[in-house]
């Protein structure tokens, strides 16, 4: 994050890729409609990616604490349960993070 050039180039690259994906159907709409396997891939991958991102960021956080991981498990369970029940993203994130902060800092 200290290297501005690296961050800026990443932002530009991500912007270009995202725009290209959104613009593709306006150029090759018929090609896409003829290739159902691409469509199925587009439905399959997001769930996998979100699970991987959850696991990866969880590992990042847990890595900074030696020993027991029950605060992570408890807070993550709460987030998933709340989101399943209330479907309110902000509420799930806020309550889960507060519980985690409390478990780790104990105030």
């Amino acid at each position: 994050m200290d290297d501005s050039t690296y961050v800026i180039l990443t932002i530009v690259a991500m912007g270009a890729v995202t725009f290209a994906i959104r613009a593709l159907p306006f150029m090759t709409g018929r090609w896409l409609q003829r290739h159902p396997q691409v469509q199925r891939l587009g439905r399959f991958l997001p769930l996998s990616i979100m699970v991987l991102l959850t696991l990866h960021s969880l590992r990042d956080i847990a890595g900074s604490w030696a020993g027991q991981l029950w605060p992570e498990v408890l807070a993550l369970t709460l987030v998933i349960g709340l989101q399943w029940w209330r479907r309110h993203a902000l509420l799930s994130i806020a309550v889960g993070t507060l519980l985690y902060l409390w478990l780790r800092n104990g105030f």
Partner: protein, 219 residues
């Protein structure tokens, strides 16, 4: 005429301002400059991949890898345009902007608008939605650069956000396979390539998805 675009975008504002603020806050707390957080929301404008870029930037992953991960995460957007082919304005810049701003929320709003909505009203709605996202980001970024938190574990918010997205993707799933593929590939990737476990796991999941599709549907 129907209702004004500003009124229609209120539900999006309720989600975009706070979530944008979470992004801005976490970006700055991870060591990024506040204006770079805002630049991300102006130039990329894709929620999940913007959150994804935070751990990837702190890990110092190659730009090509981050771009590839962005491609995979945003792949679903390819199909948004398909249902909007006839609704985009003819004007070059307006058309360009509407395509650029096709996020999940904007897409679902645009597809539920009454048929008499003019193309320019759609463009305005898209622009107002991004304004919410950018304002939220700015708010969070400024807050994040003022607050010197002594609290350990605030970055759990990122885990929580991804978990929320998992639940929502799970609701929209057509099978449980994507979940199993991810749960299996991450530990394997971690074992064989610990420094780049996320990237390796994404690669393995893509290969597994293609292979599973090939088995069930043939070529």
């Amino acid at each position: 005429m129907g209702r004004s675009p500003l009124l229609l975008s209120v539900p999006v504002a309720v989600g975009y301002v706070p979530l944008g603020a979470v992004f801005g806050f976490l970006f700055v707390q991870a060591g990024g400059a506040w204006w770079m957080a805002i630049a991300s929301s102006v130039l990329i404008y894709a929620g999940a991949s913007q959150f994804m870029m935070i751990p990837m930037l702190t890990a110092g992953l190659p730009i090509g890898s981050i771009a590839l991960a962005t491609l995979v995460v945003n792949l679903r957007h390819v199909f948004y345009g398909l249902s909007l082919l006839h609704l985009v304005p003819k004007n070059g810049l307006a058309k360009f902007y509407l395509i650029f701003g096709l996020t999940d929320e904007t897409y679902s709003l645009l597809t539920t608008l009454p048929a008499e909505t003019t193309p320019m009203q759609r463009v305005w709605l898209t622009l107002i939605n991004q304004m919410w996202w950018v304002s939220g980001t700015a708010l969070g970024a400024v807050l994040g650069s003022q607050v010197q938190t002594q609290l350990a574990g605030l970055d759990f918010a990122l885990v929580a956000l991804f978990a929320v997205l998992v639940v929502e993707q799970w609701r929209a799933r057509s099978s449980a396979k994507p979940l199993w593929v991810a749960l299996l590939s991450y530990p394997v990737a971690w074992l064989i390539w610990p420094a780049h476990a996320l990237l390796a796991a994404i690669g393995m999941s893509v290969v597994a998805a293609i292979w599973l599709d090939w088995i069930t549907h043939g070529r």
